[in-house]
Symmetry: C2
Subunit: 983 residues, 2 copies
């Protein structure tokens, strides 16, 4: 816009033109106003608004949205200033709280090149293995770190947090014993949040949790499926579990051990005690505390139970040339196949953080990790010795690793005195304190602690002076003997240059949003703007312990309050919980809210959940975890929920109806006109409506779950609200609820929390995540997105997302059938193209199209979900018309390639689709035996000539890998090791 209206005549200035120029919405939303009209016209509409009016049902259309704050949207610079202001309100004290969260030095080379690098953080979950070999290798490294340190052979590639990992282990025990033994015992030496999460989770499985002191564990009931113990314990003690495990096994009880990776570099690994499942957090391996998350948890188990492991598992397989290649293993266990029979509802996990932790292990290597552990242990030893000398408090004489337990006359007074020195201690009870050490603790810190404990009395020694007297406090019987991280990968990248290049080598194999659009239906791979990402790595946000006193975290708290308020406006709800740290965790939490609500009214019998067959697999999986009975309802020919069937199901179950789960717009990419009626039917029959907010990107500003009639909804902040996918996490799945459900929102055993804004009454359902506000560190991303877009920018985003989908559908409709549409012939923010016909006409499957898209430089859309044999395309508002056109051109060109098979011009078994993707090693091999040309394989579109993203392997064989399950780095033979050294 020109600042001077009619410059050659009046030459006067408009006030608007003097407003700051670094506005954000035009950087996030792609189509310019001219393009919007042009594209709407192409779709047969006069303007963008008429397209939207014809697409979103009138009955649910909002007039407008208005925020009480940030309505006009902050500019990028104003946003950074606001975030700096919030940051300055967080007072970062040195934390000795422990309890599963420790300070760590994030190696700067990892900080800058992974955590702050869009080429890593904008990656999608590695479903397309051929363009994901980099992060797949890194995740295999992660699994190897876990298996080596725990001493168990199988690990997954991360879970959400230690508490939910323990709950997953509990569910595994239940499954292993086929649900026949219904008690789960938890030793009281586990972290309180772990205990609470398991208790909450046990409910839905009909399990009884018994929490007892270790010495009182008793299996005589014969009803115990598993037992959970912690090693080292929450208050620091390191115990020998040898006899304990034998005893449990003797009673047919499975043993779960929660543990600590750093401690395991010095301690006998749980696998050597015979533990069946081991869980824990990899946070202290180079991931900042971030006021609770995100960071990667782990779960390892034996060969016997590997197929029952929850979450994603990376495995080794081979590609079409027979060369080793990695991919996600055992996808058949996932929820979209197994639905309510799935091993777990976990979907988005913590891939990015697992990668950081793996790289931390790669950088330090076994020796480096051990010397960190020894320092931590040594410093703890210095404290223990000093406190004994001081005599002002009583050090508990337990073997410990990093945590010293102290009895004293007034623990509160000591904790307060420490706080005056900007030190946080853990208050266990009014006579007990623990002091947990970590990588960042210094001799200086120990001297400060002496001062605190001396309470004014002069200290006659220094930490340094005591050191020579200090003894290793780990019993020899518990000293680790088994080597770990012996693979060359953990022994060759110890300088910054070496690690930098290893990170970049892996990165160069992976396609991300830095390369091209990743139009995954249901995943909303939109721009993750730099301004949104910047505060995430500011020390005032990264270095807060989640259990630090809330007064120290006023910046965070102000952001939570503002964010809760904004999300309420966006969703039409009354209160939000920021605790669930993924979408599926939100589903589970939301259903548990509904359950608690029914219970509170005495409706204990309400245990039926109606779920359309089109629902995402996590919906039934989550419902099953809540102990709900799933009743499926079908869809009609147009893809809409069959309302008659729904009404019948509601009537048939009216006495026991608990909930109905619905995604809106539907997973078919359509705004169902009947949504009002559907919500009414459920409410009339005593049920609550749970809305899956995965498709919120088609609602913001146009309609809202609350307005539509939902009672509760989760938001995938990693879809609509810009948290990057990180190659499979982190994510956040906060839930919003109507007033009547607000009292039941989850709380936390250590730091009280609940609905934001806070309801008048509270009666929390329990605890969902290990941290009170989930993965708080990434909330600035969604917060800044909303605050910079303002209400108008967000509404435009929804409109343009819909426009982009319709534009693509229009461009493609003459080439591929578009499966479902709304009443006016439009689609929502995503759409499905049907490839089923090609199976017969050309022997082509969706996978062939997805793999051929790789040759065109693109990541395939969502494959065969929600409808087998189709592709679901979601462009988002951030993709430019030029990019949409390129993607359409690629699909149209592929359609032509299919025609060639149909016409008999290409061999149905040996053609450019079946041969895809084509890596350089194949394309420039001396021998070329394909019936099509190299150049056509490599450069099927003109834009590829100026720059092309190359896959690094041929098509990866999933079946082979699942049959020959290998999920850790294999001991390199000498030749490989040499190659690795020179790689």
């Amino acid at each position: 816009g020109s600042a001077f209206k009619n410059q050659h005549q009046t030459r006067s200035i408009s006030v608007d033109a003097l407003k700051p120029s670094d506005t954000f919405p035009r950087r996030h939303n792609s189509a310019t106003p001219e393009e919007q009209t042009q594209m709407a016209n192409y779709c047969g509409f006069e303007s963008l608004n008429t397209l939207i009016d014809s697409t979103v049902p009138k009955s649910i259309r909002l007039d407008s949205m208005k925020f009480s704050k940030f309505d006009g949207g902050l500019t990028e610079n104003q946003m950074i200033e606001h975030m700096s202001d919030l940051a300055s309100k967080n007072k970062v004290f040195k934390s000795f709280i422990g309890m599963g969260y420790y300070n760590t030095h994030v190696p700067p080379v990892i900080l800058r090149n992974i955590m702050e690098n869009p080429a890593w953080y904008t990656q999608y979950t590695p479903y397309q293995a051929e363009i994901s070999q980099g992060r797949l290798e890194s995740l295999l490294n992660y699994q190897t770190v876990i298996t080596d340190l725990t001493g168990l052979p199988m690990s997954n590639a991360s879970l959400l947090d230690e508490g939910t990992a323990a709950a997953e282990a509990m569910a595994m025990c239940n499954n292993i014993l086929k649900g026949k033994k219904k008690t789960f015992v938890i030793a009281s030496n586990c972290h309180p949040q772990t205990i609470d999460i398991c208790k909450t989770r046990a409910d839905g499985f009909g399990l009884k949790v018994v929490t007892v002191d270790l010495k009182d564990v008793d299996y005589s009931s014969g009803d115990v499926c598993g037992v959970l113990v912690q090693y080292p314990g929450t208050e620091g003690e390191v115990l020998d579990y040898g006899e304990f495990v034998k005893n449990a096994h003797g009673h047919g009880v499975k043993v779960v051990m929660a543990t600590d990776l750093l401690a395991l570099t010095m301690l006998k690994p749980p696998g050597e005690f015979g533990a069946d499942i081991v869980v824990g957090s990899a946070q202290r391996f180079g991931v900042p505390m971030g006021y609770g998350g995100p960071h990667a948890a782990f779960l390892a188990t034996s060969q016997e139970y590997k197929r029952m492991m929850p979450g994603r598992i990376i495995g080794v397989s081979v590609d079409s040339s027979g060369k080793p290649a990695l991919r996600m293993a055992m996808q058949t266990r996932e929820q979209h196949i197994r639905r309510d029979k799935a091993t777990s509802n976990i979907c988005t996990a913590q891939a990015l953080l697992a990668n950081m932790s793996a790289m931390y292990a790669v950088y330090h290597g076994p020796e480096g990790l051990k010397s960190i552990a020894q320092r931590v242990h040594g410093l703890a030893g210095v404290l223990a010795l000093g406190l004994k000398k001081l005599g002002t408090a009583e050090v508990q004489d337990l073997p410990f690793f990093d945590t010293v337990k102290v009895k004293c006359s007034d623990a509160h007074a000591l904790v307060d005195a420490a706080a005056k020195k900007e030190i946080n201690l853990r208050l266990v009870d009014s006579n007990t304190i623990t002091v947990a050490f970590d990588e960042t603790t210094t001799l200086d810190d120990v001297d400060k602690l002496f001062e605190v404990f001396a309470s004014g009395k002069p200290v006659q020694f220094t930490a340094e002076s005591l050191a020579p007297e200090v003894q290793n406090a780990i019993p020899s019987s518990l000293t680790r003997e088994t080597p770990y991280l012996t693979h060359p990968i953990f022994n060759m990248y110890h300088t910054e240059h070496e690690l930098l290049r290893y990170i970049h080598k892996l990165q160069s194999k992976d396609l991300s949003l830095c390369h091209s659009m990743i139009p995954l239906g249901s995943c909303t791979m939109k721009l993750n703007a730099t301004t949104e990402m910047m505060p995430v790595t500011w020390p005032s946000f990264t270095n807060m312990h989640p259990f630090a006193p809330v007064v120290q975290a006023q910046g965070y708290q102000e952001m939570f309050a503002n964010l809760g308020d904004l999300l309420c406006t966006i969703t039409g709800f009354d209160s939000f919980s920021l605790q669930p740290n993924a979408g599926a965790a939100g589903e589970y939490a939301g259903l548990m809210v509904i359950r608690a609500y029914h219970m509170s009214r005495g409706h204990h019998h309400r245990n039926v959940c109606i779920i359309p067959v089109s629902a995402h697999g996590t919906n039934p999986a989550s419902a099953a975890m809540c102990g709900l009975k799933i009743v499926a309802v079908g869809t009609d020919a147009k893809g809409n929920i069959n309302i008659d069937e729904l009404r019948k199901a509601a009537e048939a179950n009216k006495d026991n109806l608990a909930a109905f789960m619905v995604t809106y717009p539907s997973t078919h990419g359509v705004y169902e006109e009947g949504i009002d009626e559907i919500c009414n039917i459920i409410h009339e029959h005593g049920g609550q409506v749970y809305m899956d907010g995965a498709n919120m990107n088609a609602q913001v500003g146009l309609t809202s779950p609350g307005f539509i009639g939902a009672d509760v909804c989760h938001l995938n902040l990693h879809k609509t609200f810009c948290i990057p996918h990180g190659g499979g996490g982190p994510g956040m799945g906060p839930i919003g609820v109507k007033q009547h459900l607000a009292p039941f929102l989850p709380s936390h055993p250590v730091i009280r929390t609940g609905g934001i804004p806070e309801p008048e009454q509270t009666s929390p359902l329990g605890t969902i995540s290990a941290a009170p506000w989930g993965s708080a560190l990434i909330l600035p991303i969604s917060y800044t997105y909303i605050a910079m877009m303002g209400s108008e920018g967000l509404t435009d985003a929804s409109k343009i997302a819909i426009l982009n989908a319709n534009y693509m559908a229009k461009r493609l409709e003459n080439h591929y059938p578009v499966l479902f549409r709304g009443v006016n012939g439009t689609v929502a923010h995503e759409f499905i193209i049907d490839l089923r016909g090609f199976k017969n006409t050309a022997g082509i499957e969706p996978e062939d199209v997805a793999k051929r898209l790789i040759d065109y430089g693109f990541h395939g859309p969502t494959m065969s979900w929600p409808v087998p044999g189709t592709l679901m395309i979601e462009p988002t508002e951030s993709e430019s018309k030029a990019e949409l056109d390129r993607f359409c051109d690629a699909l149209i060109s592929i359609r032509e390639e299919i025609s060639q098979i149909e016409k008999g011009n290409a061999d149905p078994h040996n053609n450019v689709l079946k041969g895809a993707p084509h890596p350089p090693s194949l394309l420039m091999a001396d021998a070329w035996q394909k019936p099509y040309s190299r150049e056509y394989a490599a450069f099927p579109a003109p834009w590829l000539r100026s720059s092309k993203f190359w896959p690094t392997t041929g098509r990866v064989d999933n079946v082979y890998g699942d049959r020959n399950l290998v999920c850790t780095l294999q001991p390199a033979n000498e030749e490989q090791a040499a190659a690795a050294v020179s790689a």
Copy 2:
């Protein structure tokens, strides 16, 4: 190291093991102690120390080095804390000072993906065009921004700063008129630092600078070669130079205009007035002020003078397949060819910053830039109007763009009042203030300024309320009519996703230290560690105006003092100037110090500078700029300076001897044993010894320039001290001097400065750079490097750098002749392999080897310098043995490829070396007509199979490009434009 000595026995702790574990030297220096011994043994020495003792001459060997601060080295975390502390001592006021430095919003996507991205900042100067097409395109964009906006057809790819760009233009005028007219006129409306730099620089050319008011410009002497004016002027006025230029040209006088890119989006371009040369700074195009730099300056000129342009110029050429490809044009003008006849001594420039500015223009596009300019102008207009209404000061009624000039009764009082509100104004004189606006100025700021100027009187209006009355203050005759940035590149990347992908697309074409070693002799491409780079983008460092009162910059000042002190210890000097912002600028400054010293003693006649033929071309070029007469001395067969010849030259010139320039260790990679004697000879004959510190990486901790006997030395902080090369800059070239030279170190006309530590007396030579402390923003890099390494870490670095070079020389000596060695058969930190023989035996030239190295994933070493027909290899201490081995393996394998030609098994004109590099487009073309196989061309070494960096073009034709000089983006025809849109 293990924290527990003899763990199973005493189990007690060593204090050392309790020290922080995030130590830095082991991350920077590659070889572990075991590897050091192993490699020393391989070279025939018992240990690293015996190798070093045999290499560094005893007579110059230091016992040890000790710092008064940081001697033990800070850990990475301690360093970040120290830098945060310094940052907090900088008080960032809002700057309205102007004078060539303006606040700007660095677009976050550019900040994160270029300025903070090692894949961009660790690139080398694009000498190997085939693996540099990304930054070459970006620099071509930069040149196009400059030519479009200035209205002149030719631009270079950056100069150091606006002041030195003006001085380069002055030199061009002198050259254009063949040195026949010896007066250069500067209008007093130029920035004071520009005037001073030109005055200083004029000295050496024997030019007389006359500074006069514009209206008094007078060419009647007939002796004027050029005139410099500023547009807009330093105090803001925008004048019509039409008649002025005609008049100058009428007198045969060349016109140089200093200008402002943002203003040119609204103003008639200088080219349309007929200016011959246009200079300025691109800083306000998205590069932070950084307390003075770095940022890119520009110089544009007409077709007529293009071959006289200083600096690097990017041009379009073709590759071996005839496809368009970019490369640096007209390298034949450079100093290593032309030596004292070179157009200029500029070598390292500001490539990284030019790329940032180019991307800023790409992101905003012509419309976006114009609306920023219009805002800035509009807000300035609001201030002018408001001040008129206020009536407390007198607004000068000049046409202006962004700067309002105000007369008042007490300017000091106003400036002080503004400072109380954290606002910096420019004090011109005691009755004059100017207020310069920029992209970041807001209506709010204008209201604050009203308050300042109202001096307590109530302000009856707001900036917003005045806006509608404000008129455009630019005369219609000066309003720009010509379009600019019409190329598609400036019109398609306006969303963050689009720019992100454009940046990454370019990045993916360029090899950097993220991929492999770049062993450029004389360039010291060592690790640029993340911790060193982090403070560079902290707001408290980036947002300081260089002319802000020094009290506001106490963090910077403390760092300067510490750094000066550390550099004095390292070099054995007494005082440092941090002003020169590249090595060659340091050479010039150092020689000018020597000149000033001789003058101060009445030795005006001392004008001879002896320079060995082996010296870097910038040495004679710099000496020539100082008006020194160059006397060359040769080297002997062993590559050492011919001492007899030197003695004779010194004797012959003893009355006029000014200086001797020497690089140590020599550019031949040898510690000359005669260096003591050489220094003595010079001193005995009244000369001063100038040491070129480019090879300082072989001295630190082992010897020092001061100890050896040098009087002055520059340090390339972008070599030894870790400032990344940025693809051709930034750099820093501070100079250190002995006590007797300290008074002459440069000062600055705006902010007084001089030697650090400050000498007792000062008599500064003048001004070298536009900013008082050069490119202050990047000094944290060198500072943190030194502080984290400590004296021992730095000494180890020197030793390992020498070890690595000797290890490689040993591995290669049976395959290639190693050209020069010291007395004990060792080399210094770099070495030369001789390829001259292959010209006859196989028709192979160094270029063929360098290009074939690309196929092996490596950047070629320094080619044909200092000895034609050779390669000079400098591995640095940061490269691991594994990487050195891979590089040696590649060279050995190439030697074998040469043998095949020698043996007649390969065609001398058509072989894998002549065909190199092999881009994918060639390797996977359907037709393959080479006599060798595709796979052998592509994968000549095993490690390439697991990951390979691909060149994006075939060999680029330099001659074609120089004959058909095209140095801007070419107007895309429709087809190209369409391809570009879909690219």
